[in-house]
Amino acid sequence: MKLIQQLWKDKLAALSLTVIGAIVIAGIFAPFLAPHDPEEVHMELRFAPASWEYLLGNDHLGRCILSRLIYGIRPSVLYVFAALAASVCIGALLGFAAGYFRGKTDAVVMRVCDVMLSFPGYVMSLAVIGMLGAGLENILIAFVLMKWAWFARVIRASVLQYAESDYVKFSKALGLSHIRIMAKHIVPVALPDIAVISSSSFGTMILQVSGFSFLGLGIQAPHAEWGMMLSEARAVMFSRPELMLAPGLAIVIVVSSMNFLSDALQVALDPKLKSRRVSQPGAAASAEALTR
């Protein structure tokens, strides 16, 4: 709670948090918020400009762009978040085990991570999609398979510094069970670190998933997804370039809010960074980008 209060003081972070919150809520309640059915075709309304009935106009099949944008939040943001959560969970489980128990567990988990991380992530995701076939679920599966190793390694490093601390040693001496020590003394202190790395990966992941959809490897028509909307708009780019605006801006807004938020989160958790923040915005985002 203190964290959110602190974040709230940072105006940019508060704005980003509001934007992301609003988008998530809009995605969850899409059927109530969207003015029209996103898949309803009106050939007589093809490329119609914005009107009171259709606030953002209509696309090449006369479908309501605003409704498609709102429904597109689900695959573009919410499902990506689910995939991120899954790979963070796997990474956290293994990272906690490796960092806490050390020894053989640590050695095995870290060797597996080394092997996973020496694969080019993008190429491997493509390989998995290639074998399972195009489709959003397969992209998300590929991402979970490829990303957990990076989270496991970072979370292990974070757990390691607490596993050796005196209060953990003391709890062990008192004879508390491993599970209790982890739940009471390690998970709570490691959570902020996990929040920072997952939020910094979220932006890149949204970009990559929508990129795959843009290539036609993701969600299949007629469902709405931002990357696919952009790709549909590209087909008529020469005559109707304005169709690219709405989905393009939606992606930029979500990803940049996420990057600002992750930066602010890092500062809020480590006040020492505050002075550095002026000199290095986007440090968290770039650390993630270096590993993709």
């Binding site: 992530g121 493509l126 390989a127 074998m131 490897l217 393009g248 940049s256 270096l290």
Partner: protein
């Protein structure tokens, strides 16, 4: 040094084996039976049980897994990746030229990224906190949130459609390089320039800078020395960047219809052409491992302290 090179190279061998096995096993992970995939890709209208069995025997799929793996690996080492299911041509005749085109795009982008990020990094570090520094950093932060395909479409619309200065797609002349390289550079230079900048900034407070100033050396010479020192960090980062960029040209290639690996692979994925996907994974992952090994060796040559770690 020689000992380090040998040990580091040996270390990459097991990794290459793991990669090759992964690439091989990929076709078995697919829910689709490979024999069925071949027949589907060739457009056979009615797939009967006899046809399936015949295709299986033809592809050698009735032999045990490990024997097939070693036979496949042996063939791959001679650049024989089998035949494309769709066109029936040898895979290497498709992959070889595409790899070359992707390599050209990667090297051109890499050169642009290195030049731009060093130039911007050094200038921004010297003007730390000034308007130029702040605006460059703000713009680069914004650009990391722009999807590369959106940026590509925007540039095509602007420079090819409206101004008609550059070709929209393909790889016909030198002008074709400009837009794809620009997109790759804009997407990546923002990350790398920040690293150059912060390593320059960390040099600012070193003793030798203070001492040089105290001795009255001209500022130009101190700056030159700082750039030389800060580039040590940059070299290792750029070495690691090369394989990453080689593997991530997919989106840009598809937008610009670049006849490279990315375009080939996406088409193969959509056509379920397994041998091509398999060969793509094997070639790119092997290139990734070899380039990473090379970059470790280069780093160890620059910084001998790293040699003791192995």
């Amino acid at each position: 040094m020689g000992r380090y090179i040998v040990r580091r190279s040996l270390l990459s061998l097991p990794l290459l084996l793991v990669i090759s096995f992964f690439a091989f096993a990929l076709s078995h992970l697919s829910p689709l039976d490979p024999a069925e995939a071949v027949l589907q890709a060739q457009g056979v209208p009615q797939i009967t049980a006899e046809l399936l069995a015949a295709t299986r025997a033809e592809l050698g799929m009735d032999r045990p897994l490990l024997i097939r793996y070693f036979a496949w690996l042996g063939a791959c080492l001679q650049l024989d990746f089998g035949k494309s299911y769709v066109t029936g041509k040898p895979v290497w005749s498709l992959l070889g030229p595409a790899f070359l085109h992707t390599l050209k795009l990667t090297l051109a982008s890499m050169t642009a990224i290195i030049v731009l990020s060093i130039a911007l990094g050094v200038i921004c570090a010297l003007r730390q906190g000034k308007l130029l520094d702040r605006s460059v950093r703000g713009i680069s932060f914004f650009l990391t949130s722009v999807p590369s395909y959106g940026l590509a479409a925007l540039l095509i619309w602007c420079f090819s459609v409206k101004l008609d200065w550059l070709p929209t797609s393909g790889m016909e002349s030198h002008a074709s390089y400009v837009l794809p390289v620009a997109v790759m550079t804009i997407s990546y230079a923002g990350i790398y320039f920040r690293i150059v900048r912060s390593s320059m900034l960390s040099q600012l407070h070193e003793d030798y800078v203070l001492y040089g100033r105290a001795c009255g050396l001209p500022e130009r010479r101190i700056t030159a020395r700082m750039i030389r020192n800060s580039l040590q960090v940059a070299v290792s980062v750029f070495c690691m960047a090369l394989p990453i960029i080689l593997g991530s040209t997919v989106v840009v290639e598809n937008v610009f219809a670049w006849p490279g690996l990315g375009t080939l692979t996406v088409n193969s994925i959509l056509g379920r052409d397994f041998p091509v996907i398999q060969a793509y994974v094997l070639v790119l992952a092997a290139a990734f491992v070899l380039l990473n090994t090379a970059s470790d060796i280069i780093q160890a040559a620059i910084n001998p302290k790293l040699q003791k770690e192995l």
